[in-house]
Amino acid sequence: MPVSKKPLIQLANAGVERDGRWLVRGINLAIKAGEIVTIIGPNGAGKSTTAGLVVGTIQADVGKVHRTAGLRVGYVPQKLHIDPALPLQVGRLMALTATATAADITAALDAVGIGHLANAFVNHLSGGEFQRALLARAILRQPDLLVLDEPVQGVDFASEAMLYKLIKQIRDRTGCGVLMISHDLHIVMADTDTVLCLNGHICCSGSPDNVVTDPEYLRLFGAPASAALAVYQHDHDHVHLPDGRVQHADGTISDHCHPTEDQAHAG
């Protein structure tokens, strides 16, 4: 595991355009070994697109993506449908992209709490069990960078806390970098080193403590007291127009959504 301060992956002003519309734009982000970075944002904010840029399933139309040579990625995608015609047991899913010993598979499944399901067919798993299996598969690779796109979807509240704790433990033990995508805020915050608020671009970023007091964050996510507990709410203060410009809550239109704070976002 590299211990240098050099980022495992770095996005510099990266953007993705589809049919004349920017899915994300101006994304700057770096993940170092041992760092947990969490991206939060509403539906359509470009969270999965950003994850795609990081893992390489989506190419940047502008900007640069720099990945450390030989970077070992473990990836849990947001959606995965396995055709019922494919007889796939959980144990076999663990060895999908690389060989794994039976002992390692058992250990990984035990770690996420589904050791008893090694012989179950993936199509018979509940949503939460399937998420855990995917997480087990990703950590089994002993990745340098773990990319988790909504890793706790379909998982009940108590298990959610447990899975986040597990992700932190894996980071502590292996020193891997973690990029997590989430649409809910409350538990993520505790163990995250850096939070990025995304809404087509990065609205604000920093340590959780700094971010919750950021005016941009407050505009997007509400009062600071809510950070510990509150149900995630996202009030749009601006809309991305088809031509790439931005219409703000007060009706004004600008080319960017985060020019100097005192101008576009004033009022």
Binding site: P77, L80, L86, P87, L88, L96, G113, A120
Partner: protein, 275 residues
């Protein structure tokens, strides 16, 4: 009954079935049956092209089927039509063009029925060798690239993220089907090639507990279908290709009667008392 020509047919057929089993599983898992059918239809245009250019069919057919793959990829990018519509257009366009081209060039010398439904009993020694070489190539590549092919089938995104280059796998997959179509023409003909791919795989699904066991069982089901089909064809004086597929269909039904050893997996409601 055990004449030379029959033995040759049997050997060629068994070889094709062994290869079509695992490849057919991939076709079934990837929901690409219609794609296989389209390439099979394109093979007729390949025959016409081979006659026109004086190339051997074994070169002309893969060239045209791979050309059809390129046309498919271009069409997918440049139209709003759904995939199955594009495939149907390509399948029937290539079939029609093939028939017209054959009429214009080869004309009466071409046995159209053999092309459409197969004529395995006329395989020459050279044909058998070609089928063995082609079959060994396909099977070798499938075994060599199995992890990648399966990973891309389960999730192209995971495969890409974890360094398995799914785009190469997509092309590899198309090339494998193009080769199989070219060498399986003799056995079952253009109209029944897809059946040879997917029916043994479908029969195997009922009994399989892993992707690998399904691939092996599909090969076995294919061998049973070919053997049974060729013997019944000889005994009943029925066309060989269709006989093979009839046996495969019967097998599909009979297999359902076999109880599954591994019934439902452990109930998915929390840990059991004993792990």
């Amino acid at each position: 009954m055990l004449d030379d020509f029959f033995l040759r047919a049997l050997m060629a057929g068994i070889c094709l079935a062994v290869v079509a089993g695992p490849l057919g599983c991939l076709v079934v898992w990837r929901k690409m049956a219609f794609f296989g059918d389209t390439l099979a239809h394109a093979a007729l245009l390949g025959i016409g092209f081979a006659i026109l250019t004086d190339l051997p069919p074994l070169i002309g057919v893969p060239l045209v089927t791979l050309g059809t793959c390129v046309a498919l990829l271009l069409a997918q990018r440049s139209t709003q039509l759904s995939n199955d519509t594009i495939l149907a257009i390509l399948a029937h366009t290539t079939l029609a063009c093939g028939l017209v081209l054959i009429a214009l060039t080869g004309g009466r010398t071409v046995n159209l029925e053999a092309l459409l439904f197969g004529d395995i009993l006329t395989v020459s020694q050279t044909d058998v060798l070609v089928i063995f070489a082609g079959g060994a190539t396909i099977l070798g590549i499938i075994i060599w690239q199995w992890r990648r092919l399966l990973a891309v089938t389960v999730s192209p995104d995971i495969a890409e993220a974890e360094g398995l280059a799914p785009r190469h796998a997509e092309w590899l997959f198309m090339i494998l089907i193009a080769i199989l179509v070219s060498i399986a023409l003799k056995l079952v003909g253009i109209l029944l090639i897809t059946a040879l791919l997917i029916m043994p795989a479908a029969a195997a699904r009922h009994l399989a507990s892993s992707p690998e066991s399904m691939a092996r069982l599909a090969a076995l089901c294919g061998v049973i279908a070919v053997t049974g089909g060729l013997y019944s064809s000889a005994g009943l004086d029925t066309p060989s290709g269709p006989s093979v597929i009839v046996v495969a269909a019967l097998l599909l039904v009979v297999v359902r009667l076999i109880p599954r050893r591994h019934m439902m997996p452990t109930p998915s409601s929390g840990p059991k008392d004993t792990p």
